[in-house]
């Protein structure tokens, strides 16, 4: 029996320059783009989804940390911010970040969304507004709390520590089905349990008639006056990025979901940055810090959900705590020491757990600008001195939970403090010491706000529906539209917003919800793609 007859093109299938036509072209197949493409196709629109990376199948996954990063991440996983130096990642694969993330799905807290509405002149982005979209995506992907049998010891120890301290915690809700706790989320889920975009929304979009171009890099958004008319780019070889055939997709509507670090570069390169001056600005992260704990007994850290437990207890104080795992070679980079001392520490790996904090450093801002050549971004970002205490407090709380859970010692990874701490009294230095940003090993988790939404066209790039203020039919559907960091893992919110944007576009095209569709509350209306969505208040 042959493979299903769908229009997916892989690198080796391109034989010449080509041109496509569509109702909507979606750029990027990560959580934003894949959801948008599927929902638009479900509403009967002719969709072309363009992805620069190739599709990966289990035989393509490698468990070696170095090669996995070189194959699935942009810049081989070596991307870092300038200013306050911090590594950060962006995937290059069909499915985008969902292929290599830990499948964490959290709804943005109501207080965060209320702040967004209040501070950024948004009227329809409260939790109540977004819940129908969260629900639709959650049901589709089977988002559910991680069950105990696949937690593994290192996740359950976190729970135990939190409970002893009276710190609220919960199993992490994830988009997985049948997770076996292989702890391989970062290198590709071999058991196919993770419901990443490449095995969920993208196949569904194909089945609904969408065309999916993989290994196709969009280099320019084409526009005429206030309307985008399509995109143009080159086919690129997997891993090397060597450019090949040219292509063009003409469309009545363009959705950019290339990621918060790429979409503003694409807009800038296309001369469509807009008059607000906010394209590429306001870059925020959830800067992360991690602590390693050594327990008296083996915890088999390799087995168990990659990230299985979390605590929202300190969200109001600016940080969220969670468990963590990654390829041991990558994690060991954080281990202190060198030589024989390092070798001794590596022997502790079977007794080791790693827990981390992601922090809401709203005062720490940066920008994304294009490199002199190419489409890779230069990221400038600086940790604000007033945000440093959040990181210190998060480190201390992690230490506290480790010792409550029975850890013998912790490795805080802070320059200027002891490599190893054996008591909570010693760990108090994490809170009280005088630190500089360079003393911490920071991780640039998640990235936001570079094409932020704002009700005032002079203060943001897109409106509440993801549409560029200065163009009638160009939308953004990635984490760049967040006006401020969401304080929790962003994937579900990206998908919910993309879901809303897709249905707003379909409504304007006069497409009825249909069997696969979705009718957001109060969204009625028909007409030309790109006209003002009903209820949006116009401009």
């Amino acid at each position: 029996m042959s493979a299903p007859d769908v229009d997916l093109r892989a690198y080796a299938d391109y034989e010449r320059d080509f041109r496509e036509e569509a109702d909507v072209v979606v750029v990027g197949s990560g959580p934003g783009g894949a959801v948008a493409a599927r929902e638009l196709a479900a509403r009967g629109l002719r969709v072309v989804l363009v992805e620069e990376g190739p599709p990966f199948t289990p035989p393509d996954y490698v468990q070696d940390g170095g090669f996995a990063m070189a194959r699935t991440l942009r810049e081989g996983g070596l991307r870092a911010t300038r200013g306050t130096v911090m590594p950060t990642m962006q995937a290059i694969a069909l499915g985008g970040g969902s292929l290599v993330n830990s499948a964490i799905c959290n709804r943005a807290p109501a207080f965060v969304l209320d702040d967004w509405c209040g501070d950024y002149a948004l009227e329809h982005t409260t939790r109540a507004d977004l819940d129908p979209h969260y629900d639709a995506v959650g049901a589709y992907l089977g988002i559910a709390p991680t069950p105990d049998p696949v937690q593994g010891r290192r996740n359950l120890l976190f729970r135990d520590g939190c409970e002893k301290l009276g710190v609220s915690c919960e199993p992490i809700p994830r988009n997985v089905r049948g997770c076996r706790g292989s702890g391989e989320c970062f290198t590709g889920c071999r058991p196919r349990a993770k419901q990443s975009m490449d095995i969920t929304y993208v196949p569904d979009a194909l089945r609904l008639g969408a065309t999916v171009l993989t290994s196709a890099r969009v280099e320019q958004v084409l526009a005429s006056g206030r309307r985008a008319v399509g995109v143009a780019g080159r086919v690129v070889a997997p891993f090397t990025g060597r450019p090949g055939h040219r292509f063009e997709v003409r469309a009545r509507c363009v959705v950019l979901a290339a990621g918060c670090m790429a979409t503003p570069v694409l807009l800038e390169r296309s001369g469509l940055a807009g008059p607000s001056g906010h394209n590429g600005r306001n870059l925020q992260f959830h800067p992360g810090v991690a602590v390693m704990g050594i327990f008296p007994e083996d915890v088999d850290p390799r087995f168990g959900a990659t990230q299985g437990y979390q605590s929202h207890h300190f969200l109001a104080e600016g940080f969220k705590l969670e468990t963590l795992w990654a390829p041991p070679a990558v994690l060991s980079v954080r281990m202190p020491g060198s030589g024989v001392e390092l070798e001794r520490r590596l022997l502790d790996l079977p007794r080791l757990a790693v827990w981390d904090a992601i922090t809401s450093c709203n005062r720490s801002l940066g920008e994304v600008v294009p490199r002199r050549r190419g489409l890779d971004p230069v990221l400038r970002w600086k940790l604000h001195p007033l945000d440093l205490p959040i990181l210190k407090e998060a480190l201390y709380r992690l230490a506290e939970i480790f010792f409550a859970a029975g850890a013998d010692s912790i490795l805080p990874g802070v320059h200027g403090l002891p490599d190893e701490m054996t008591s909570l009294a010693q760990a108090r230095a994490l809170r009280s010491c005088d630190l500089r940003p360079g003393d911490l090993v920071l991780g640039g988790n998640h990235a936001f706000c570079t094409t932020r939404m704002h009700g005032d066209p002079a203060r943001g790039v897109v409106d509440e529906w993801g549409r560029c203020h200065h163009l009638d039919n160009l939308y953004v559907a990635d984490s760049g539209v967040f006006p401020r960091c969401p304080s929790v893992n962003p994937m579900w919110t990206v998908m919910a917003l993309a879901h809303r944007t897709a249905h707003a576009i379909a409504d304007q095209a006069g497409r009825s919800p249909g069997a696969h569709g979705f009718s957001p509350p109060g969204a009625a209306g028909a007409g030309r793609l790109g006209a003002t969505p009903a209820g949006a208040g116009g401009r």
Binding site: M1, A3, P4, L8, R9, A10, D13, P54, P55, F56, T57, P58, D60, G65, G66, F67, A70, R71, G76, L94, V150, R153, R177, G178, C179, R180, G181, S182, R190, P191, R192, A193, I199, V202, A237, P238, F239, T240, G241, D300, R302, F303, G304, P328, A329, S332, V333, S338, G339, V340, L342, E343, R344, L347, L349, P350, D376, H415, R436, G438
Partner: protein, 210 residues
């Protein structure tokens, strides 16, 4: 005067040539990195994971240079350049941050004895300069990746690779292997297998049960 300048210039050129290119063992055939880079990696690997420690292999025995060579080959051109720049910087930074000994400590890092190399790298690791610590962390990260790829090391650290069956799902009917044509997809609808049943791996994987 002019002759003296020429002599000094020639001596300097000879010294630089010898420092940068001289005295390295040849690179194995097919290597992307050049002999001086492979020598530096071997020297650093031995210093970060020295012989005689509690792990069964030293950095050199674990084949770190060959691993890094493959990693560099698999990287995009810009990342290749960055990694090679890092290697060159560490090799010759002994001019500014020397090892023990007034003159001997300023020889290139790979030419220094093991104890001196360990001392030099410790200086980078504990430096008060963030940029030096960053360089050390980057270099050690690359070397550590290579060290962990060694089977003996994996076995000692209980990190042996384990097999997991991948169910054949709809996506496997749609996507070819990376770089291949869709015509090469070997699966059809009849090949679909039931999805993962969620059996916890730590209870079933060979050698994984506690």
């Amino acid at each position: 005067m002019r002759f003296a300048a020429l002599v000094v210039g020639a001596a300097l050129a000879a010294w630089i040539t010898r420092r940068v290119w001289g005295g390295h063992p040849p690179a194995p055939p097919g290597a992307v990195l050049c002999p001086r880079e492979l020598a530096l990696l071997a020297a650093v690997a031995e210093a970060v994971f020295p012989p005689g420690g509690p792990l069964p292999r030293s950095g050199g025995e674990a084949g770190v240079p060959a691993y890094v060579d493959r990693l560099v080959a698999a990287s995009a051109p810009r990342q290749r350049r960055l990694m090679r720049l890092l290697f060159a910087a560490v090799e010759h930074a002994t001019l500014v941050f020397p090892g023990p000994g007034l003159w001997r400590g300023r020889r290139r890092l790979s030419a220094q004895p093991l104890a001196a190399r360990i001392a030099v790298l410790e200086g980078w690791r504990t430096s008060s300069l963030f940029s030096r610590r960053l360089v050390f962390a980057s270099l050690r990260a690359i070397v550590t990746l290579g060290y962990f790829a060694d089977r003996e090391v994996q076995r000692r650290l209980a990190l042996d690779p384990f097999a997991i069956e991948s169910p054949i799902c709809e996506a496997d009917l749609l996507y070819p292997r990376v770089g291949a044509s869709r015509a090469t997809i070997a699966f059809g609808l009849g090949d679909l297998t039931p999805p993962s049943d969620g059996t916890p791996l730590h209870a079933s994987a060979p050698g994984a049960a506690r």
